[in-house]
């Protein structure tokens, strides 16, 4: 297959933001995740947990609450006091409404999904009516003494429980009057803590209220009498889960689960289990279990602890079949409940999602430049070089080290959505939610000068995806509302901004672009519809690849043949001939035979596809944990053959070697991978981001004692 010099790059200092909230939507089986930088991501749990949409973050928009409402509308609220609705089609923020209650700490949509409740810093609970195109303030509930940190509706929509500091209030949702108050014991193991913060409440249909608090307790309350039913201490740092019966307002049970905060709670739709997350990173599963084998009396019992996080778990969700948790350590963990999973297939495995399912790195092959995209800045690096040669596994001495050429900071509070460097290295483009930046770069020996192209056209305010043509003369921009434009670049500026004819009636935004090396074809794909192929010269739709059930994760057009290679989130790869408007023979063969089962079981999507410049039969693709060079001329592997064969065949005869050789040449040497590309026929670049380096940049976790102390 060949030997490559691999530029192993570890200087992309990317750190994902911690997860703040998760919200699960049962109808669409989608998960919304908000991060501490204000980014909101949408994962499609049915499509192999693919991150199909994202909304860029904003410095002043720290989300504290996230929820779905009727019609799969997504709302967030945060410390800037605003409630935001997201447009999931156009991938923009629909509107922001100030609740006028100071920072918002909590939000909950009514069980019917037609009302929205927010809890504010000033102790007010505000009810909003969700109208078809906006939200409208309706009423204030009785004002409480201090901030409302958690809210939960009774499943019938008649009552609301609100967690504040040191107590839980129960409101009548019709009148808005407080009808009950449950005081939480500040004491923890005999020591009086300063304050007991109710981080989360959950209202069950039988009137039980479950609270989790900063004293490490899970308490189960009877809201009718206001009595505590049960108390579970879950954490050593700060979380009680308390289950209250709201009818009486009595605490029914108290589970001390931790000495650390219990920061989050989520209840299953059947109300037979719930999950809490603690500041120590442990997730506890509670289940409603019969006290005796035959009686109908049931009790909440702490059944399973899970330790998948190193840092505090800030948010949990409970889908019908899985526990979902996320926190400061930036991982999103989806832990299927084995007893709820009907088919024991690969979906039943634990998923840990750390990296975004999109590309943050672009590469100017000729100049050997790498452009890294961060939340608020771009970095441009030039790769080093070597004159030495070696054999497999050698590290070659560098004759020139990699250079950090540029650190380009965007102005304003908004996060960068996308960025790109032109193949010639002469242009850099990037976009935030409201501004588009285009820079011209000039290289004079070792000096580099940067010039911003001013006077961008009005329509170019923001872009979802940017792509330069292979000859760096054209810039393709996909922006909101599905518009797709091409700009001709010239020295010192640009001309001819022209738009592709949009598909009639689509508002679907295009998130992925690919241009053919000859510059004639442009392929674009949105989050759900199929892939559209446009003729660049005529600015017209050439054809549409037949729609497939799973979203596209990567696109590329091969040189010479103009075959479009499409990777989907279910790990299928298709090859479609643009000139012939049909799938290629190879693609049909692959589909007929099916991919190797291990290939289909990979749990990260392919995020980049490229081609060997000299060998048209070779396709390079990569996900987070491997990269693969597909040689279309070789036979496909079947389920009996070894897919990954990392060991070099040494003494085997040529016959065996030929027999076992298959089309998928996979290397798992470099991981986690953020980017792999072929610079030329003998050189690869692999951008790695070791997890330890990320952990090193996170705040230290709560120290747990060991050795029985």
């Amino acid at each position: 297959m060949g030997e490559f010099n691999v530029h192993r790059v570890r200087f992309f200092n990317y750190v994902p933001s911690g997860i703040r909230c998760v919200a699960y939507n049962n109808q669409s089986n989608r998960l919304a995740v908000s991060r501490t930088d204000g980014t909101v991501e949408i994962y499609n749990l049915s499509a192999n947990y693919f991150q199909e949409k994202f909304f860029p973050g904003h410095e002043s928009r720290a989300t504290e609450a996230l929820c779905w409402a009727k019609g799969q509308r997504l709302f967030s609220a945060g410390l800037n006091g605003e409630i935001i609705e997201y447009d999931l089609q156009a991938l923009t923020i629909k509107y922001a409404v100030d609740a006028f209650g100071g920072p918002i700490w909590s939000m909950a949509a009514s069980p019917s999904g037609s009302q929205l409740l927010v809890g504010c810093e000033d102790g007010s609970v505000k009810l909003f009516q969700i109208t078809p195109d906006k939200i409208q303030f309706e009423r204030n509930f009785d004002r409480q003494k201090s901030r409302i940190l958690s809210l939960s509706w009774h499943p019938a929509g008649t009552h609301v429980a609100a967690g504040s500091i040191d107590y839980i209030s129960v409101f009548d949702s019709k009148s808005g009057s407080a009808i009950g108050k449950m005081l939480v014991d500040r004491q923890y193991m005999g020591v009086s803590k300063r304050k007991c913060i109710i981080w989360g409440v959950a209202f069950l249909s039988d009137g039980t209220v479950i609270s989790v608090d900063s004293a490490g307790k899970v308490q189960i309350w009877d809201s009718a009498t206001g009595t505590l039913m049960k108390n579970h201490l879950v954490s050593n740092a700060d979380v009680k889960v308390q289950i209250w019966d709201s009818a009486t307002g009595t605490l029914m049970k108290n589970h001390l689960v931790s000495n650390a905060d219990v920061q989050s709670i989520a209840v299953s739709p059947q109300e037979d289990s719930f999950v809490v997350g603690t500041a120590e990173g442990t997730v506890f599963h509670f289940q409603l279990v019969s006290v005796t084998s035959s009686s109908s009396e049931k009790q909440w019992v702490r059944t399973k602890p899970f330790q998948h996080h190193t840092h505090g778990v800030r948010a949990v969700a409970h889908s019908p079949t899985a526990l979902i948790s996320g926190g400061t350590d930036t991982h999103l963990v989806i832990r299927p409940l084995m007893e709820k999973v009907e088919v024991k297939n690969y979906d039943a495995a634990l998923r840990k999602i750390t990296f975004p399912h999109r590309r943050l790195v672009s590469c100017a092959k000729k100049k050997q430049l790498l452009l890294f995209q961060f939340a608020h800045h771009l970095e441009l690096w030039r790769l080093g070089s070597t004159v030495a040669t070696g054999k497999n596994g050698d590290t070659l001495p560098l004759s020139k080290n990699a250079d950090h050429l540029l650190h380009l900071k965007t102005k304003g509070p908004e996060n960068i959505i996308c960025s790109c460097i032109s193949p010639c290295g002469g242009w850099i483009a990037c976009s935030t939610a409201s501004r588009f930046f285009l820079y011209r770069l000039n290289y004079e020996h070792d000096n580099i000068s940067l010039q911003r192209v001013s006077k961008m056209p009005v329509f170019l305010r923001s872009a979802l995806q940017i792509l330069f043509s292979e000859d760096s003369t054209k810039l393709f921009v996909a922006s909101n509302q599905g518009s797709l434009r091409v700009i001709r670049l010239q020295e010192g500026g640009f001309t001819h901004p022209r738009a592709f004819q949009p598909q009639s009636g689509t508002v679907q935004s295009m998130c992925l672009l690919a241009v053919s090396p000859d510059g004639n074809w442009l392929a674009a794909s949105g989050s759900s519809a199929g892939v559209h192929v446009y003729n660049v010269k005529q600015l017209k739709l050439h054809c549409t690849v037949p729609a497939y059930n799973f979203p596209v994760t990567a696109l590329a057009i091969a040189p010479n043949t103009n075959n479009l290679v499409i990777a989907h989130s279910d790990q299928q790869v298709f090859e479609y001939s643009i000139p012939d408007k049909q799938y290629t023979e190879w693609s049909r063969t692959v589909q007929k035979q099916g991919f190797h089962h291990l290939w289909l079981q990979r749990d990260t999507p392919i995020t980049h596809i490229s081609f060997h410049p000299k060998r048209p039969m070779h396709i390079l693709l990569h996900d987070t944990y491997m990269f693969c060079l597909i040689d279309k001329s070789l036979p496909l592997p079947n389920d009996k053959t070894l897919l990954y064969n990392p060991l070099p065949p040494t003494n085997e005869s040529d016959v065996i070697r030929r027999r076992t050789a298959h089309a998928f040449k996979i290397s798992k040497k470099y991981k986690p991978l953020l980017f792999v590309d072929l610079l030329d026929e003998k050189t690869l670049v692999a951008v790695e981001r070791p997890l330890d380096d990320i952990v090193a940049q996170l705040p230290p976790p709560i120290k747990k004692k060991k050795f029985g102390t």
């Binding site: 570890r10 200087f11 059947q270 005796t292 084998s293 054999k391 060991k706 050795f707 029985g708």
Partner: protein, 719 residues
């Protein structure tokens, strides 16, 4: 284990003239009270536990009740329909049904359904459904026809699925059955055709349903005597389409195929169903409880005076007509405990020794296996039936035994008991044993001289008992300070309350050594190490060092100084057992292994006198030292207490009695050694922490070495 209790007739007077038994039995809004509607003109409200009627209402002569009375749980009112179209609503205070609220409807009512948590529903004969409130707002509203001509509603049920009301009704037309599922949250009516699995056309005679997570399980009893199950999806994929449902056979030949009437079915819980009918063509009608999971007959009860083929099941009571009287048969399932899930698990015993109670009678289950040949199966079932009939007279063996207990001499009881234990165990063996013990205890209380110790021991050793099955036994043994029985109980019972455990401990601590000498205590677990030899002592010394505890170690502590003066003495003390072998056996086998939860045990431990707790502490400390003698930190012997069990108990005792123990001079040495021990443990932990930190640093260095460079060019060959 299912158990049908002795039934009783609810009505002293025969029910009205109707030939088909009562029209219906429905729950009222108070527990234990049921509305019985005669097929004639009368509605009676019964309190079942008192077996007496609380109220009775009749319609006028000439009118006839066509739909059983139900209770509106939201208002507490009762509703009936007479003459098909006239709706009456009344409450407890009303006397005359003629004077109560009346509404005449425009169509004929099939049934009114009412369940807790939602408003009553009226199902019309044409298949339309109305909420009561909506109907009363406009009684003469037009009622549409849902089902086709000649389709007749056969059976109907209303229940909640995930808080949403769902009505299911089954219609018949020319021998074809259709299932309608009406969901009220979405107002979707789904229609299914019920495909009968059997070859020949059978008439379905009774239906029953239960709700699962995703399916409604519909069970039907066919005229061929078999029970079929049909799963109806709760969330149909295409609600509009007419879909088909296939029946699958669940139980074969539960009733005689030729029985034309008097057949009924009720689902009791997810694994049990009750069937009413004659098992053989010629035999009398029976009420039988079947386990559908293991396909076994659990229990059955003959109804010699015949029945009407109607069966209602509410809570724990089965209602049926027996002769002319409405009979209630309480139904019970065995209660077991979940102590393990809530407190500390009892140290699991060797399953080989432990005889688990038989829940499944495989001999009987063979007969109804998923076999192949129909005739052979039914034959086998017939044979089994006969066996059962012949066995039936034997069942009173237990009652006979219970009678013996009440009057006979201790010797005789013992003989009888041995006989009884020698016979084959019936499924309800453990409940019988529990009853026997309660009987014995009752007699003990009545006659102070009577104390059938051997019988009790024998019974406890059957391995089927738990604390909850014979609640008085341990208290009684405590009263008698019978340590032997207490030891056995502590070993056998999985669910002893902490207060009782603690009371046992107190008895064990306070009982005199001379009394102990005379009792026979199982000491197999302690025999291995109670005679320490010199070698053991030496090993013990080195092991302390290994574990961080070194009596020689001196940390400038004044108290430690004192200790050092007599290091030999400490060593002696630490290696010789502070209690006698028998007492040790009691502690070790019995108390240390029992399940407990700390919060409940602590207050009781506080009541232990200081001297006793010191003694116990000394013993625990001794056990700990024994434990640390070997590398695996375990004690020799069978079922030894684990190190953590010992440590937990030390901590608990100290927590409970610290202030008292501190004051006692005898405990001083023990506390000092414990203090030293804890101190050395702390220093060990801090050392371990230090090591961990340096280890982590090393690891970091190692990692840095691996990923030293942020950038490198490597050669990779792809094969």
């Amino acid at each position: 284990m299912a158990d049908l209790e002795e039934g009783f007739a609810l009505t002293a007077v025969p029910l009205g003239s109707g030939p088909d038994g009562p029209l219906g039995v429905e729950q009222s809004d108070k527990t234990d009270q049921f509305l019985v509607t005669d097929s004639g003109r009368t509605v009676i409200l019964y309190k079942v536990s008192d077996q007496k009627p609380l109220g009775s209402w009749s319609v006028k002569q000439g009118q006839i009740i066509t739909c059983p009375a139900v209770c509106n749980f939201q208002t507490g009112e009762y509703i009936i329909v007479h003459d098909n179209k006239v709706l009456r609503i009344w409450n407890n205070e009303d006397v005359n049904l003629d004077k109560v609220f009346k509404a005449t409807l425009s169509a004929e009512v099939y049934r009114i359904h009412s369940i807790q948590g939602t408003e009553p529903l009226v199902l019309f004969k044409e298949g339309a459904v109305r909420g009561l409130e909506a109907l009363l707002a406009e009684p003469q509203q037009k009622i549409e026809t849902v089902i086709s001509d000649e389709e007749v509603i056969k059976w109907t049920k209303f229940f909640m699925v995930f808080r949403h009301p769902v009505l299911i009704f089954i219609t018949e037309k020319h021998g074809n059955y259709f299932v309608y599922v009406q969901k009220f949250n979405s107002r979707i009516l789904s229609k299914y055709t019920l495909l009968l699995g059997q070859e020949e056309k059978c008439v379905i005679q009774s239906f029953s349903t239960s709700v699962g997570r995703k399916f409604i399980s519909l069970m039907s009893l066919s005229s061929d005597g078999c029970v079929y199950e049909t799963l109806i999806p709760i969330h149909p994929s295409e609600p509009e389409k007419n879909q088909r449902l296939v029946q699958s056979q669940l139980l074969k030949s539960v009733v005689s195929g030729s029985a034309r009437n008097g057949v009924a079915l009720a689902i009791l819980d997810q694994d049990h169903i009750a069937v009413l009918g004659a098992p053989l063509p010629a035999s009398k009608e029976c009420l039988s409880v079947w386990n559908t999971k293991f396909q076994t007959l659990q229990t059955s009860k003959e109804l010699p005076q015949g029945t009407s083929g109607q069966l209602w099941y509410y809570g724990e009571n089965l209602f049926m007509l027996h002769g002319k009287f409405l009979t209630v048969v309480p139904f019970k399932c065995e209660v077991s405990s979940l102590a393990g899930a809530l407190g500390k698990l009892k140290h699991s015993q060797d399953p080989g020794i432990h005889a688990t109670p038989h829940f499944v009678n495989w001999e009987t289950s063979q007969g109804c296996g998923l076999g192949s040949q129909n005739s052979e199966q039914s034959k086998r079932i017939l044979r089994r039936r006969k066996v059962e009939v012949s066995v039936q007279p034997e069942v009173p063996a237990s009652t006979q035994l219970l009678a013996t207990i009440q009057k006979d001499s201790e010797k005789h009881i013992e003989v009888e008991l041995r006989k009884f234990l020698a016979t084959k165990r019936t499924p309800d063996f453990h409940t019988i044993i529990g009853d026997v013990i309660i009987g014995l205890l009752g007699r003990c209380k009545a006659e102070p001289s009577f104390y059938p110790r051997n019988c009790l021991m024998q019974l406890v050793q059957t391995h089927v008992l738990s604390y909850s099955l014979c609640p008085g036994l341990m208290e009684f043994a405590l009263e008698k300070t019978d340590v032997q029985i207490l030891q056995l109980c502590l070993q056998q019972f999985p669910d002893i309350p902490e207060s009782v455990t603690c009371a046992c401990l107190k008895v064990f601590l306070s009982i005199g050594d001379d009394t102990l000498q005379d009792t026979d205590i199982n000491m197999e677990s302690v025999s291995d190490y109670m005679d320490p030899v010199q070698d053991g002592e030496m090993e013990g010394q080195t092991a302390f060092l290994q574990n961080g505890f070194s009596p020689e170690e001196d940390n400038c502590d004044s108290c430690a100084q004192k200790l050092k003066e007599k290091p030999q003495a400490t060593a002696d003390e630490s290696t010789s057992c502070p209690v006698t072998t028998k007492r040790a056996a009691l502690f070790r086998n019995a108390v240390l292994h029992s399940a407990y939860s700390e919060t409940f045990l602590l207050p009781h431990l506080k009541d232990i006198p200081a001297q006793h707790s010191t003694l116990f502490l000394q013993y625990l400390y001794f056990l700990y030292l024994k434990c640390s003698e070997n590398a695996t930190m375990t004690l020799p012997g069978t079922h030894p207490p684990t190190l953590s069990q010992i440590m937990d108990w030390i901590c608990l005792l100290l927590d409970a009695n610290f202030t008292v123990v501190v004051m006692i001079p005898e405990a001083k040495r023990l506390l000092l050694s414990l203090y030293k021990f804890v101190k050395s443990q702390i220093s060990i932990c801090s050392e371990l922490n230090k090591i961990e930190v340096s280890f982590r640093e090393l690891q970091k260095l190692n990692q840095e070495k691996n990923n030293r460079e942020l950038y490198s060019i490597e050669v990779l060959e792809l094969f």
